[in-house]
């Protein structure tokens, strides 16, 4: 079984390849780290943060062990308010094709190819819809998407 550490290194590498241009805009790509919550178990996280504005993109990779595997991508402001790309798409009724493009299970190639394709799709969404939150002073609180759970 390939380790989470190995997967996180691939994630780290691909994020640097695809989001590296953010470093020219004051963002720092932090090294991948292994995190843990009781509900998720271990997962990998890469934080891309602008320390001046406090705006961040967080990439979480959950390995397919306890749960189905996947990647979640969040925007976060300096006060800790956060939303995921999928929540943003759902809230703004921009689902279907865009939502599918950021679901790892929808890619059937090798792990590194899948990560790369997903990250490119995510970058396109961020730059098309979320650049004002990432680079500007604007912020929008996106409601929690409860679905049928609450």
């Amino acid at each position: 079984m390939i380790s989470l550490t190995h997967d996180s290194e691939i994630l780290d590498l691909k994020i640097r390849e695809i989001f590296g241009d953010l470093e020219t805009k004051g963002f720092i790509i932090q090294n991948a780290s292994i995190k843990h919550t009781d509900a998720i178990g271990n997962y990998a996280e890469v934080v891309v943060k602008n320390k001046t504005t406090g705006r961040s993109i967080l990439f979480w990779y959950i390995p397919p062990r306890i749960h189905p595997g996947g990647i979640s991508i969040f925007l976060q402001n300096d006060s800790g308010d956060t939303f995921s790309l999928s929540e943003y798409l759902t809230q703004n009724k921009l689902e279907s094709q865009l939502s599918r493009s950021i679901v790892l299970a929808n890619y059937d190639g090798k792990f590194d190819e899948n990560i790369e394709s997903l990250l490119k799709a995510a970058k396109a969404i961020i730059f098309q819809y979320l650049d004002k939150y990432l680079f500007g002073g604007e912020w929008e609180s996106i409601p929690i998407q409860w679905g049928d759970m609450k």
Partner: protein, 200 residues
């Protein structure tokens, strides 16, 4: 549109195991359009009953199912927990219903406390709870299994919120299950257990 201010005196009867009746002086504003339709009427809200009349409303609410089906219902309290009439919280088996009912109360000058993004009264949803919930929701296609949900930080925060309402003597409006959703909600069940001692 013109704004008409009114001052009214109403009797508030608090519904509970231990019924308490106290006078409540309601000061508020009512917006009346050219056609004579008030704010609450514009929202399609009807105030019913003489008891707790500022809290008991019939509010048309809608929800959209995953397949796009739109359901309509009327949100109205199934039960109310006695508490401080100035601190009101809402629970129910649909956040669409809860949010709709909250909007109707706001139109009457009452700011209800909901379990949502930005909590106050000494409790906030931690960033990690929001992100953990979203990540699990992502990988399970929008619905975290009941076997996983109780271990999430969001679920634990929700239980803590319900306990806080009880400790701080909130009046809690339980809207029940206005859309007659056949699927139980662990979140809602936990809130009912903490606040009312069990599900209805």
């Amino acid at each position: 549109m013109r704004i008409v201010t009114f001052h009214g005196m109403e009797q508030l009867a608090i519904l509970s195991q231990k019924t308490v009746v106290c006078p409540l002086l309601l000061w508020g504003s009512l917006a009346i359009s050219g056609g004579g339709v008030g704010l609450t009427q514009a929202l399609g809200v009807t105030t019913v009953g003489m008891t707790n009349s500022h809290l008991i409303l019939n509010v048309p609410v809608t929800t959209t199912l995953k397949d796009g089906t739109v359901l309509n219902a009327t949100a109205t309290p199934a039960r109310i927990l006695t508490g401080d009439p100035n601190n009101v919280a809402i629970i129910g088996r649909s956040m669409d219903a809860v949010n709709g009912y909250a909007a109707a109360l706001r139109s009457q000058g009452i700011e209800p406390y909901l379990f949502s993004n930005s909590l106050d009264a000494g409790l906030t949803i931690p960033t990690i709870a929001r992100q953990e919930f979203s990540a699990l929701s992502d990988i399970y296609g929008g619905t975290i299994p009941d076997s996983v949900l109780p271990s999430t930080k969001m679920f634990q925060t929700n239980e803590a919120w319900a306990q806080l309402l009880k400790q701080q003597n909130y009046t809690v409006i339980d809207l029940g299950n206005p859309f007659v959703n056949p699927t139980p909600s662990l979140f809602y069940n936990a809130e009912q257990k903490v606040l009312f001692g069990g599900t209805k």
